[in-house]
C-alpha cells in the first residue's frame, strides 16, 4: 500500500510539472474571462447596417420612424420603470419625437448634459430638455445605478445603433449600385396603398442570411398598418390599443410547500447549471483518463515497466498510476472551483461591476459542488480502469486509439443527451440511463436540477461502485499480462481469452497465462 502511494506521489509530481497541467489550471480563468467579455465584445463590434426607404405611400415611412423612436425610448427607460419611476413614463411620453434623432452617443450626451447642467446637444428639442431637467435627480440616480454591462446592453437594444436610415434621392439605380458596392445593406420599397393592398412592398438586399433588418422593419410596418386599418373602421385609439395588446405570461414556479414564487434569472441559471457541470465533468474525466492512457503507454514504451514490476506488483502499479492522476485531476478541479468562486463572488464585489452571467448562486450550493466531485471520482475511476487495462496492451498511442474507440463512442452519449436531459431531468429515458454505469455520473449530474429521488442516488451510486470494482478486477487481469506484451496489440477475441484465462500465482497454480 505504501508503495502504491509512492508511485502515485511520483506520478502526481511529474504531472504537476507538465505544461498540460498548467494549461488545465489556466483553462478556467480563460473560460471565465471569455464568458464575461466575449458577449460585450460581440455587441460592441457589431456594425450598424444602413438601409434606405422609398416610400410610395408618402406617409408610412415617417410613421415607422416615429414608432422606431418610441420603441427605442421604451427600451431606454425600461430600467427606469424597473427602478419604480413609473410615474415618469407618461411624462416622458409627451416628448417622444425629440429623441428619435438620438443615437447611443446622443443619449449619453443628453443625459450627461442634463446632469452637469451644460448646454444640451443641438438636436434636442426644448421640451425634452425641460423635461429632463425636471426629473434630473431621478435620471441621475438611475444612470448612476446602471452598470457598464447594463449600459452596453441598453445601447445594443437601441435600434438606431443597429440600423441606420440613409438619406437618398429616390433613384433606384443609385440604390442598387450602393448595395452592390456594399455601402448600403438593403432598401425597402413601401407600396402606394399598404392599408388596402398587402402587396406592393419590396425588400432589396444582397445578404440573404441576415434577416434581422427585414424582420425588425417588417414588424413595425405591420403594426402601423394594422393600427391604421383599425382606425379606418372607426375603432377608437383606446380600443385599438386594447386589441393590439399582447398577452404576457409570467414565469411562476412552485416551491416545496406548493406556494407560488416569481421565476428570476437565478432560477433559470440553477436549472441549467447541472448541464454546465456535466460539461466540465465530461472534460475533466476525458482529460484525466487520456492523461492516464498516454502515461501508461509512455511508461511501457520507455521500458520502465519491468524495473517497476521488480519492486511492486502489477496491481499496485496500476493502482498507483490511477491514484496519482486522480490527485492531479482533483487538484485541477479544486483550482477551477476556487477560481470560479473568486471570479463570480469576488470580482463584482471588488470592482463593483456586474457580470453578464451571474453564477454565484449556483456556486454557493454545496450540494452541486459535492456531487460534481463525487461523480468526477466515480466516473474517473471507472474509465481509468478501462483505459489503463486497454492501454497496457498497446505499444504506442496509435494502437491505443483503435482499441479505445468503443469506449470513446460510449463517452459521447452523455454530451448528446446533455440538453434533452437538462430540459426534462426526470424523464423515463433519463431515469433508465442513470442505471447504465458508464453513463451514471454524467446523467445523474445532469439531472441534479430535477432532482432525482434519494433512493435513485443511493442505488445508482451503489451500482457504480460495484461496476468500478468489476472494472478494476478486469483491468488488473489484463494489465498484469498486457503491460509486458510486445508486438501487435491483441484483438477483442484475444482480450476476451485473456480475461477468461486463470492467472497463475506463486509457482503452485497450474493453467496457462497469456
Amino acid at each position: 500500500m505504501k508503495r502504491m502511494l509512492l508511485i502515485s506521489l511520483r506520478e502526481f509530481l511529474e504531472n504537476v510539472r507538465t505544461k498540460g497541467f498548467w494549461i488545465g489550471i489556466l483553462m478556467m480563468p480563460v473560460v471565465l474571462v471569455l464568458v464575461a467579455v466575449v458577449p460585450l465584445i460581440i455587441e460592441s463590434t457589431r456594425s450598424a447596417k444602413s438601409y434606405a426607404v422609398i416610400d410610395e405611400s408618402n406617409w408610412l415611412g415617417s410613421e415607422v420612424q416615429a414608432e422606431i423612436s418610441r420603441r427605442d425610448f421604451r427600451y431606454l427607460f425600461t430600467d427606469l420603470r424597473k427602478g419604480r419611476e413609473e410615474a415618469l413614463l407618461p411624462e416622458l411620453a409627451k416628448v417622444l419625437p425629440e429623441i428619435r434623432v438620438l443615437g447611443e452617443t446622443g443619449i449619453d450626451e443628453a443625459v450627461a448634459s442634463i446632469l452637469t447642467g451644460s448646454a444640451p446637444p443641438e438636436a434636442l428639442g426644448n421640451r425634452w430638455v425641460a423635461h429632463l431637467s425636471d426629473h434630473r435627480v431621478l435620471i441621475r440616480d438611475w444612470w448612476q445605478k446602471l452598470t457598464p454591462g447594463a449600459r452596453a446592453d441598453l445601447s445594443a437594444r437601441i435600434s438606431s445603433n443597429r440600423f441606420v436610415l440613409m438619406e437618398h434621392s429616390g433613384d433606384i439605380e443609385t440604390l442598387n449600385q450602393q448595395i452592390n458596392s456594399g455601402s448600403l445593406f438593403a432598401y425597402f420599397i413601401l407600396g402606394a396603398d399598404p392599408v388596402n393592398e398587402s402587396a406592393g412592398g419590396r425588400y432589396v438586399s444582397n445578404n440573404l442570411t441576415d434577416l434581422d433588418l427585414q424582420n425588425w422593419y417588417g414588424r413595425i410596418v405591420n403594426r402601423i398598418v394594422r393600427d391604421r386599418r383599425l382606425l379606418e373602421k372607426n375603432i377608437d385609439e383606446e380600443t385599438a390599443a386594447w386589441i393590439n395588446q399582447q398577452t404576457e405570461f409570467e414565469g411562476i414556479k412552485l416551491d416545496e410547500d406548493g406556494l407560488e414564487a416569481q421565476v428570476d434569472n437565478t432560477d433559470i441559471a440553477r436549472q441549467w447549471a447541472p448541464v454546465g457541470f456535466v460539461y466540465f465533468l465530461w472534460i475533466s474525466i476525458l482529460i484525466n483518463t487520456q492523461m492516464l492512457l498516454t502515461n501508461t503507454i509512455e511508461e511501457k514504451s520507455n521500458k520502465l515497466i519491468e524495473v517497476l514490476l521488480s519492486s511492486v506488483s502489477p496491481v499496485m502499479l496500476m493502482g498507483g498510476k490511477i491514484l496519482g492522476i486522480a490527485a492531479t485531476g482533483l487538484t485541477i478541479i479544486l483550482s477551477w472551483i476556487v477560481m470560479a468562486l473568486v471570479f463570480f463572488l469576488g470580482v463584482p464585489a471588488l470592482l463593483g461591476v456586474e457580470l453578464p452571467l451571474d453564477l454565484s448562486s449556483v456556486l454557493a450550493e454545496p450540494w452541486l459542488l459535492l456531487s460534481f466531485l463525487v461523480y468526477f471520482l466515480l466516473g474517473y475511476l471507472f474509465y481509468a480502469a478501462l483505459l489503463v487495462g486497454l492501454g497496457s496492451l498497446c505499444n504506442n498511442l496509435k494502437e491505443a486509439q483503435n482499441l479505445i474507440l468503443p469506449v470513446q463512442m460510449i463517452q459521447i452519449l452523455p454530451i448528446l443527451m446533455m440538453i434533452p436531459i437538462g430540459r426534462d431531468p426526470n424523464s423515463t429515458l433519463a431515469q433508465v440511463m442513470s442505471y447504465i454505469p458508464p453513463l451514471t455520473p454524467f446523467v445523474m449530474m445532469n439531472r441534479a436540477a430535477g432532482p432525482p429521488a434519494v433512493s435513485e442516488y443511493i442505488t445508482t451510486t451503489l451500482l457504480m461502485v460495484v461496476s468500478i470494482v468489476a472494472a478494476f478486477w478486469l483491468a488488473a487481469k489484463v494489465f498484469r499480462i498486457g503491460i509486458l506484451m510486445t508486438g501487435k496489440p491483441p484483438g477483442l477475441r484475444e482480450i476476451y481469452r485473456l480475461l477468461r484465462a486463470p492467472v497463475s500465482t506463486r509457482g503452485t497454480a497450474s493453467g496457462r497465462a497469456s
Binding site: V307, L309, S310, V503, S504, G507, T508
Partner: protein
C-alpha cells in the same frame, strides 16, 4: 547454500512452451550465467525468479522462500530493455527506486548521492535523466538496481549494446559484487563474456536446459581439441584416442578422449605424416554449447 532453486518449472505463452521442465540451482555468492541464443527462455526464467511472471507448474525458491514476492526487496533486477524517467533528476530517480524497494526516503537519497559519487556521476546528480549520455544512463540504471544493496542481483543481457569501455565497467561491477559476497545472475548470448567471469552457468536452448554446473566441471566433461596443420595421407589422422575428426583438407580438428594423452597422439601423428603446426585447446564454451545442442537434438 543456494540462493535460487528451480524445480520442474514450466511456462506457456498460449501454445508456446517458453520454459520447459527447468531445474537448476544458483549457489549463494557465485556469479551465475544464463547462456543461450535469443528466444531460449532466459528472460522468462528470470521474470519468474523476479515474480513478474508466475510459472504454470513447478517450484521457484528464492532466498529460501517459496513465495518470491515476499523477498522482492532483497533482489535487484536490471532488465534487458530498460529506461529512465526522462524528466526526473538523476538522484531523485535512483532514490525513488530505492524507496520502492522499501528504503526510507532520507536513506535512499543519501545512498543515491554516495553511489553517484562512487560511479563518478556526482556532477549529474541534479540533471534530468534525458540529458545523460548512453553510458551515463547505463550507470544510473545499475545504481538504481544496487541502491538497496540486494543479496541477489539479476542482470538481463547487461552487455548488449555497450561499447568496450562500458562492457568493462559492467564487468567490474559484477566482479565487485562477487567480492562483496552477493550472488549475481546475468544472462547473455555471448559465450566469451560468460567464460571470463562466470563461476557456474546454465545453458538453455528452446526453453530447455542443455546443461548446468560450475564452469570448470562443465569443461572437464568435454574433450579437449587438438588442432593440426598437416601434409600427407589424412587416413593417418585416425589414431587411437581420437574420437572425432573434423578434416578441413590441410588442417584438421581432432577431439581427444578424456583419458588419452594429447602428447602421445602427437608423437604417433608425426611418425606417419608431416605436421607443420599444432595446438591443444580446452573446449570453449562456444564449442561446448554447439556440441551440447547438437547432442541434445540427436
Amino acid at each position: 547454500m543456494n540462493s535460487i532453486e528451480l524445480e520442474g518449472v514450466n511456462k506457456f505463452f498460449g501454445h508456446h512452451h517458453a520454459v520447459a521442465d527447468m531445474s537448476f540451482s544458483v549457489p549463494a555468492g557465485s556469479v551465475y550465467g544464463f547462456l543461450g541464443p535469443n528466444g531460449a527462455g532466459k528472460t522468462s526464467t528470470i521474470r519468474m525468479i523476479m515474480s513478474i511472471l508466475y510459472p504454470d507448474s513447478g517450484r521457484v525458491t528464492v532466498l529460501g522462500s517459496n513465495n518470491p514476492e515476499s523477498v522482492k526487496d532483497r533482489l535487484g533486477y536490471l532488465p534487458e530493455e530498460k529506461g529512465l524517467y526522462k524528466k526526473m533528476k538523476t538522484r531523485e530517480l535512483i532514490a525513488y527506486f530505492g524507496t520502492l524497494k522499501g528504503l526510507p526516503w532520507r536513506e535512499a537519497h543519501s545512498r543515491a548521492q554516495a553511489l553517484l559519487e562512487r560511479f563518478g556521476l556526482q556532477a549529474s546528480a541534479d540533471q534530468k535523466c534525458e540529458s545523460l549520455s548512453k553510458g551515463m544512463g547505463q550507470k544510473v540504471q545499475i545504481i538504481s538496481t544496487l541502491i538497496h544493496e540486494p543479496e541477489v542481483v539479476i542482470l538481463d543481457e547487461p552487455f548488449s549494446g555497450l561499447d568496450p569501455i562500458n562492457i568493462e565497467m559492467v564487468r567490474d561491477v559484477i566482479l565487485d559484487l562477487r567480492r562483496q559476497g552477493r550472488t549475481v545472475i546475468f544472462s547473455t548470448h555471448i559465450m566469451e563474456q560468460a567464460e571470463q567471469i562466470c563461476d557456474a552457468l546454465l545453458l538453455v536452448n528452446g526453453g530447455r536446459k542443455i546443461l548446468d554446473g560450475p564452469v570448470a566441471d562443465i569443461k572437464r566433461d568435454f574433450e579437449p581439441t587438438l588442432l593440426v596443420d598437416f601434409e600427407g595421407d589424412a587416413r593417418h589422422l585416425d589414431q587411437p584416442g581420437v574420437t572425432r575428426i573434423n578434416n578441413m583438407g590441410r588442417k584438421a580438428e581432432l577431439s581427444i578422449a578424456q583419458d588419452a594423452d594429447p602428447q602421445m597422439i602427437m608423437q604417433s601423428l608425426m611418425r606417419e605424416m608431416t605436421i607443420t603446426g599444432f595446438s591443444v585447446r580446452e573446449p570453449s564454451l562456444h564449442e561446448i554449447f554447439v556440441r551440447a545442442v547438437r547432442e541434445s537434438a540427436t
